[in-house]
Amino acid sequence: MTAALEAVDVTRSYQLDGVRVEALRGVSVTIEQGDYVAVVGPSGSGKSTLMHLLGGLDRPTTGTLRVGGRDVAAMDQDELASVRNATIGFVFQSFQLLARTSAVDNVGMPLVYRGLRRAERRRRAAAALEQVGMGHRLSHRPSQLSGGEQQRVAIARALVGEPQVLLADEPTGNLDTRTGDEVMGLLERLNAEQGVAVVLVTHDRDVAARARRQVHVRDGLLES
């Protein structure tokens, strides 16, 4: 079986105010189908850069990156967007829900870019919301929901396209401990029941400890 995500000796450097910043200096990591991995490291370690690369939002400066088995170097921006749409579900620390849009339309939004009709999008979005226990909040707007509920809606949005990987960047960072626990429980249940791989980026040791394995990033390199 092909790996869901695969980075082989990738580096990523930027020019920041004329200074060359080496965010990643040669990292190899493989996310298998159904994996449950925590990427941990202090801020500035390069873990966000690694997450952006694994999510196909960015390209490595050198090295090979495969998303859903396809080399991103061979794809243009728009192909990469389609691959993201099909393969990855993003969960952000700050939820990133559209304010003036109902839960069901927020969740259905990624399907817009698959060219699905509104009725079909809403049907699938409602099913995804049902899975995360938000089936009773379809027409609520984000401002009418608690933080935990908003993150559940965001997880439903990540899930709606039936991705291979859920990429969660500090998913509990804006939640209290109990709500954070519930959200983690939800991600683990989805991982166990549906076989979707979960990649968790966090600096919270307790959260990281729940993952099946951990990848430590420090100064742009992996620690083993």
Binding site: H52, G55, L57, D58, Q77, D78, A81, S82, R84, N85, A86, F90, F92, Q96, L98, R100, T101, M109, P110, V112, Y113, R114, G115, R117, R118, R157, G161
Partner: protein, 395 residues
């Protein structure tokens, strides 16, 4: 991305900032409305002038001394009354060539006096021009031959001078000389700026003595049919050339007058509409500006949409549609205001006829949509090219 969805997102975005959207539209509204109004007035003025020129009569040829060109000084006439007879015989229509010698004079009846255009003419006038009488009769050849002091008065002049009394048979004074009223013209309105209801007609011979001028200003005649206009025109010029070899004359037809006036009014309309179009352009710049603000405000939304699979063109289409929606709604409001404004204006002001042509609202709508595309494309491309990582990170 389906167009319906892009449409929905655009409408939502515009409604989210209703006041801002309305103010942005205002520039386009004003621009489109003024273009529609000015085109309507220009077209109305042109049609009005055409109606006036057509209303003078048909197949007319007006003969004036000198060359009829813009910028050339008016030429002192050497035409004589006898030239009318000479031309009448040459074209086989004796007694059918009208003459005119005009000047402004004070016209007095009792204690009331008015300033009027006094035309010295001959009996051919009603045969050449459309000039109906409401009362009495027109000048006869004997009036001209004997230099009789009789007068036909214009309708508004008659009303004001006689205040409801019957003018027929009364005596009025023109430039201090007494004339007896023979008839009253029916109202014909004004033509090319001259109020024809404020004229009086007297025998040309009486006018020559009154003004101390033995010439006539101009001749007018009528070709038997449209097809013969050119031939008659050439004959007339031929007669005048052989009699005044050193002089130049112009014989203008109604078509030539219409063409000249039409060109001037057309140019005027174009210039005015172009000035109005500048305000449309300024409105477009406003749209561009507000779209840039909108892209900046929604950078995170753009980042999110790109992260979950929006392609460049999906984002571009969404913002372009928003800009086009702004300008076309503005355009529709502008057309409504422009059409309403034109009609109101022409109803309120008598001399300002407005005619809504079918093409001007269509053109205005098309232009406002084009303005949306033109001024929306830069902000929309900027949105489409945003890097998702940077966009998601922005505050």
């Amino acid at each position: 991305m389906r167009l319906a969805e892009a449409w929905r997102v655009a409408v939502t975005a515009l409604r989210a900032n209703l006041l801002r959207s309305a103010l942005t539209m205002l520039g386009v509204v004003i621009g489109v409305a003024s273009v529609v109004v000015l085109v309507a007035i220009g077209t109305g003025a042109k049609q009005e002038v055409e109606a006036q020129v057509q209303g003078l009569g048909s197949n007319l040829i007006i003969v004036v001394p000198g060359r009829l060109e813009f910028g050339s000084a008016p030429t002192k006439s050497r035409l004589e009354l006898s030239d009318a007879d000479r031309i009448g015989r040459a074209i086989g229509q004796p007694g059918r060539v009208a003459v005119t010698l005009s000047s402004g004079e004070t016209v007095r009846f009792g204690a009331r006096s008015m300033f009027a255009t006094v035309n010295g003419t001959n009996p051919a006038v009603p045969r050449v021009f459309v000039r109906p009488l409401s009362r009495g009769s027109y000048l006869r050849q004997s009036d001209v031959d004997t230099r009789r002091r009789v007068v036909i008065v214009g309708s508004s002049l008659a009303t004001q001078l006689f205040e409801g009394a019957d003018p027929l048979g009364r005596t009025i004074s023109i430039g201090g000389v007494r004339f007896r009223v023979l008839g009253v013209f029916a109202s014909v309105g004004s033509s090319l700026g001259a109020d024809r209801d404020n004229e009086v007609h007297i025998p040309v011979t009486a006018a020559q003595r009154l003004f101390g001028d033995m010439r006539v200003d101009a001749l007018a005649l009528k070709a038997p049919s449209t097809g013969e206009i050119d031939e008659v025109r050439r004959t007339v010029l031929g007669v005048l050339e052989s009699r005044y070899p050193d002089e130049e004359f112009s014989a203008v037809t109604q078509d030539q007058i219409l063409g000249a006036v039409g060109r001037i009014l057309g140019l005027l309309t174009t210039v005015l509409a172009a000035i109005a179009a500048i305000s449309l352009l300024v409105g477009g710049v406003g749209v561009s500006n507000i779209m840039l603000v909108s892209v900046r405000e929604r950078t995170r939304e753009i980042g999110l949409r790109k992260a979950v699979g929006a392609r460049q063109r999906d984002v571009l289409l969404q913002f372009l549609l928003e800009a086009v929606l702004l300008t076309t709604i503005g355009g529709l409001i502008g057309i409504a205001l422009g059409v309403g404004g034109s009609l109101a204006l022409s109803a309120a002001i008598d001399q300002l006829p407005a005619v809504i042509t079918w093409w001007s609202p269509l053109l205005a709508f098309g232009v406002s949509a084009a303005v949306g595309v033109f001024f929306g494309v830069v902000p929309a491309r900027r949105a489409g090219r945003l890097d998702p990582v940077d966009a998601l990170r922005s505050e």
